[in-house]
């Protein structure tokens, strides 16, 4: 039975490849976290980097990353959600809708470095702001807009038609139905998608090199006035994020322990991305129970 032997052989090969894939992932993630294990402490996470000597931390970079995620989501979510509502509820099949869809696809497939350069041109040079956290947030907002739009459209389309029809039958207008009925029902899906995307923004670097810059001023974490130059909350200051810092430490490596810093920062980055993932799943489940009263 030759074909039976071939079938068995093929099955074994498929199992080997699939196992190899899982092993690769476990090795990869395990290696990163293991290498950075010495740096997974509060001192490393909170203290400022030092130049030319050991013991620097990643405090400002970590803060910049989080602040940038927050600002960019603040910009993208309203636009992306609206565009998603338009596509799911109002767009009629036709040339304009096809055009919007093509643009979303085109934006989504653009290399992030190209979006970074667009940001350099428009949000850094033309506005005259220079390298600022806000320019970076805008660039990342552009990068993320197609993703958020898709997530919103999918979440809205997943709302059962019956819920929508019930609201319309009660005399509500289409728009009232959207914001009173459809959006709350779509919320669990939206929140899951948005937080997962935040995780991706958190690790983005290429779009930020020439928009948020590769340096961070000496931040004074006791000064919370967003208009002060050294305040961490000031969005109009250069802000190197964690992912950019990993890249810069490797290319410049001014600290003698740059390898350990990169190891530590990488493991923090990976752990944060996992946290974003776990939080999004958890919140999605909680909201789902609250809003639809059923599990899953």
């Amino acid at each position: 039975m030759k074909s039976k032997t071939a079938d068995k052989l093929a099955t074994v090969v498929f199992y080997i490849i699939a196992t190899g894939f899982i092993l690769l992932l476990m090795l990869f993630v395990g290696y990163i976290i293991y290498q950075g294990r010495d740096r997974l402490n509060l001192h490393f996470i909170t203290s400022a980097p030092t130049f030319m000597k050991e013991g620097g931390g990643i405090g400002p970079q970590l803060f910049n990353s989080l602040y940038l995620v927050f600002l960019s989501m603040l910009i993208t979510v309203p636009i992306g959600l609206s565009a998603g509502i338009y596509l799911a509820e109002y767009a009629k099949p036709g040339r304009i809708t096809n055009m919007v869809r093509f643009c979303i696809e085109a934006l989504a497939s653009l290399p992030s470095i190209v979006i970074g350069l667009f940001g350099l041109l428009v949000f850094v040079t033309m506005t005259g702001w220079g390298y600022t956290l806000f320019s970076g947030a805008l660039a990342v907002a552009v990068l993320n807009l197609p993703v958020i739009t898709r997530i919103s459209e999918d979440a809205i389309r997943n709302v059962p038609q019956t819920v929508k029809e019930a609201s319309l039958a009660l005399g509500a207008t289409h728009w009232q139905t959207i914001y009173r009925v459809i959006l709350p029902t779509a919320l669990p899906g939206l929140v899951t998608g948005l937080i997962m995307t935040s995780g991706r923004v958190f690790g983005e670097a290429a779009a930020l090199l020439y928009t948020a810059g590769m340096s961070s001023p000496n931040l004074n974490f006791h000064d919370l006035n967003p208009f002060h130059a050294r305040s961490p909350l000031n969005p109009f200051r250069p802000a190197e994020t964690l992912a950019v810092y990993i890249w810069k430490v490797n290319s410049e490596g001014l600290a003698p322990d740059s390898r350990q810093i990169a190891d530590g920062a990488s493991s923090i980055l990976i752990i944060s991305v996992f946290l974003f993932n776990i939080i999004s799943r958890f919140l999605g489940r909680v909201l789902n129970v609250r809003f639809s009263g059923s599990k899953n």
Partner: protein
């Protein structure tokens, strides 16, 4: 909903329907405006090399002489970008060649061989791979792969091979998940008909599943290629960044995204050097649009079969 229109005032409708409708429609249109702006801005900067500095596009695309700062006495700047273009093409094609067989195999495993393991183990694994930031891929490539290649295969370690291996892992989830979706979309009847005819599972996969999923798998491959082509930092960290055409996979080389990341900050806006970098950015943009068009072509062909 419009039947009882006469009962409600125009103002009511304006407040509760049209204002919202206009707002979301505006943001939908905003996506078109944004894309157009992006294209126009990058194109204006990218074409300056040819219109303002009067270099020929032929020289830019097909010359290997990259001397953007050469003094006028020695013949002036030369901006042949062929080395970078070759680097981008080689590194992403090599990554694709290495990644595709394994990604498709994983896609088949998780849909046909063991859907249970696929859902419980492989799907989450793919999601984790997608979530890993590209600098982390680059850093692991730099600290593990580069020394490994240096010790075991020779050369500097920084090489075309290192770059494409890093990309190979990065595009793996893209190809695998798109292919898996394509395979799931094949009607179950095909599979059952083939088995009923006495074919083994492997024969069914080879003769029925893969051929019917080909358009979807190709879409995944093009998406993977697009990602590989545009990836900047992870590749830049392991490629070695020597400006030359590589003679073997173990040679160091450079690609378009790397030269842009490295030189954009050191060159003044408006100089020939800087403009040449923008031209490469424009080329990246055109390539990524071409990939989208290609995907649409593939999709249409699959539909007309």
């Amino acid at each position: 909903m419009l039947k009882n229109k006469n009962m409600k005032s125009r103002y009511y409708y304006f407040k509760h329907e049209y204002s919202g409708k206009f707002a979301v429609t505006f943001f939908g249109m905003f996506l078109i405006i944004l894309t157009l702006c992006l294209v126009v801005f990058i194109a204006t900067k990218g074409l300056a090399t040819f219109f303002n500095n009067h270099f020929s596009p032929i020289e830019f695309l097909f010359s290997t002489v990259w001397k953007p700062d050469r003094a006028p006495a020695n013949g002036g700047p030369a901006i042949g970008a062929l080395i970078f273009i070759t680097g981008s093409v080689l590194v992403s094609m090599l990554a694709l060649l290495m990644s595709t067989p394994f990604s498709v195999a994983v896609a088949i495993f998780m849909t046909e061989i063991s859907p249970k393991l696929g859902k419980k183990l492989l799907q989450p694994a793919i999601e984790v791979f997608v979530g890993i930031p590209s600098v982390v891929y680059g850093w692991v490539g730099l600290s593990v792969l580069v020394p490994f290649i240096r010790v075991n295969l020779g050369g500097l370690g920084f090489s075309l091979l290192a770059g494409s291996l890093v990309l190979c892992i990065m595009i793996f989830p893209t190809i695998a998940s798109v292919s898996a979706d394509a395979i799931r979309a094949i009607p179950r009847d095909y599979y059952e008909a083939s088995l009923a005819l006495g074919a083994t599972r492997w024969q069914t996969i080879r003769r029925v599943i893969i051929p019917s999923a080909t358009p979807g798998i190709l879409t995944g491959i093009v998406l993977g290629l697009a990602r590989a082509f545009g990836e900047a930092l992870a590749v830049q960290m392991v490629l070695g960044n020597t400006i030359r055409i590589p003679r073997s996979p173990l040679d160091s080389t450079i690609n378009m995204t790397s030269i842009i990341t490295m030189d954009m900050g050191n060159t003044a806006m408006g100089t020939v050097w800087n403009n040449a970098l923008w031209s490469m950015a424009l080329l990246l943009l055109i390539m990524s649009f071409l990939f989208i068009v290609l995907i649409h072509r593939i999709g249409n062909q699959g539909g007309s079969k």
